[in-house]
């Protein structure tokens, strides 16, 4: 997949919230590139409507969305737009939760999903720390749906479709450490809140957010653990075979010892 431009590199994206004007070009580009369906009815919805949805406007056919909030800044109500999509965690909970490897973390950064391997247990949806994964409840043969970070484009050294169309520079894309550097430069330059959301959240992600108003006022999950979620299960899973074999050995020993010289029970 990767070519000479991308081999060995990891990419990330930055969302500069104050720079976003809510034009939703990114949403349109996403639909076009990924061939996602759209309903005329849902086109009537505004970013404010989406902000009121439990899903923040993310649906099986809406992999990215713009939500609008009116947080307070310097004592006045202001207008801020947030782009929502999968964070593409460094050590993703969905990948570790999936028991049939339907989710995969690409070396370049994207976390992708393959429906042909999916059983449909939906453990990934509950495990996801940002509640990104959506399910096709209406279909007889449903799958999970979420942003794939335009994995084929990223592998070829191109930016995801959404980033490539952003007219304001609110979206910035590149190698991950450069994106982080840019995030910190913009924070210093514009006097933003000194927090790159996504740098540590859930153990680190590929999508970073910077803002001049508190993240909590824009439905960010600010209380999310900064430990990578798979680390909670790793030692448990590593211990399982040892415990299992040890316990079986103990049982076998007890069985032999206790049945010695006795008639076997049926």
């Amino acid at each position: 997949m990767a070519n000479e431009l991308t081999a060995g590199k990891t990419f990330g994206a930055l969302v500069d919230i104050p720079r976003c004007i809510g034009c939703e070009s990114c949403s349109v580009a996403c639909k076009l590139y990924n061939g996602l369906d759209w309903e005329a009815e849902r086109k009537q919805l505004t970013p404010a409507d989406r902000a009121a949805e439990a899903n923040k406007g993310l649906w099986p056919e809406d992999w990215t969305s713009i939500t609008q909030y009116n947080p307070e800044k310097d004592g006045e109500r202001t207008l801020r737009f947030v782009k929502n999509q999968c964070f593409h965690c460094d050590d993703p909970a969905c990948v570790s939760a999936c028991f049939s490897k339907a989710f995969q973390k690409m070396p370049e950064g994207p976390v992708i999903y393959d429906q042909s391997l999916c059983v449909g247990c939906r453990y990934c949806m509950l495990a996801c720390p940002f509640d990104i994964i959506k399910y096709e409840w209406g279909k007889a043969i449903p799958g999970c749906r979420k942003c794939q970070m335009c994995a084929p484009r990223v592998a070829q050294g191109e930016a995801p479709a959404c980033v490539s169309v952003c007219p304001t520079g609110a979206l910035f894309y590149g190698e991950k450490d450069q994106v982080l550097e840019e995030a910190k430069r913009r924070i210093a330059e514009n006097g933003y809140i000194d927090h790159v959301f996504g740098e540590r959240e859930a153990g680190g992600t590929s999508w970073f957010y910077i803002s001049d108003v508190p993240f909590a006022a824009m439905r960010f999950r600010t209380d999310v653990t900064t430990r990578a979620l798979p680390s909670y299960t790793k030692s448990y899973m590593a211990a399982t075979p040892v415990v299992g074999i040890g316990w079986a050995a103990v049982l076998a020993g007890l069985y032999i010892y206790n049945n010695k010289g006795k008639d076997h029970l049926d």
């Binding site: 339907a102 059983v119 247990c121 409840w137 007889a140 909670y232 049982l251 069985y255």
Partner: protein, 390 residues
Amino acid sequence: METVRKRWTFKMTPVRGIFILVALCALAIIVVRLILGLGATTNLNDQWPWGFWISFDVLIGVALAGGGYGVALIVYVLRRDKFYPIARSAMLTSLLGYVIVVLGLLIEVGQWFNFYEPFISWGHHSVLFEVFWCISMYTLIQVLEFGEIATEKVFKGAHKLLKRIMPVLLVVGITLPTLHQSSLGGLYYEMIGKLDPLWWSPLLPPFFLVSSFFVGPAMIVLETALAQKATNHVVPVPILKGLVKISAVAMLIYFIAKIGDLFVAGEIGNAFAGTFASNMFLLELGIGCAVPLLLFFAGACAKRGGLILYGLCAVAGVVMNRFNVVLTGMGEYLNRAGGQYFPSWMEFVVSAGLVSIACLIYLFAVENFNITGGPKHEENAPQSGKFAAE
């Protein structure tokens, strides 16, 4: 050959008629679910991807089937032979519990036809991977264990072989549930920050394991009380008393660990916060542990009535615990932005139907195979000499 008797029997009674009716309704809904999908039959949604079927059919089904591996451990491995008369029925109910679990899972997952994927595409980092392997293997083992009983009557040629491998089946058949009973709790490790800390704990796996162990005898007490009417099989009180004693010791350990865990995590105050979740938590521990432990230590479990009350409380407690983990404990997080879930009537009917199917199979098996043994069934069970309690 012994006396001529009908090879297969199934006595129709009004209760069995109801079971059949409910099972047929459930099957009809299952057909609808397979054709129209989960959205048309359940109230599950993107905020609530797991609901009634996961909590009842799977988590509660597996927990309440804990009597099977528990009794196998006590009788066959530790050779407490006095419990032998209930071994076969306990292990059969466990098998039927897993039949509910497997059928329930098959209709619960979206792409049921892909059920075998984890066998070939190993997501071995997932706790669910372990649960899946253990539950499938254990169900298979239980079928073979039942095969050892069934081949007394049909396919007699295989009986000797099955009997010979029984020790292996038993040892593996205790190891696997020990693993997956705990791992069902381990599934919720990933839900840190989502599941209420009254339930989320690094000790979730041992909590799930121990509760499945102590609820086993409680289920056996209830099952034998129910089956007594249907099958004329009376289990002597001393056997049940002995089982409940084992259960109560495990329950006491669980109860102390549970409270200790809250103290260590600094969450004990939240148990009395007066919220819906905290009240459910108190109810769960009160009815599920405090009351039965009081009953036991007050000596009320010497009689059948006290035993049944102990059984009812312990089962209710574990049922509440599993519902609380999947539903109550996740509620505050999943509903915080306007999510909501209450099971649809179809979800209830399907679960009731699965239970009905299991009951029907149980009744059929008890009538046609030597499950309950004992002198009462002398005429139906030619080999019953072996089954007298020691």
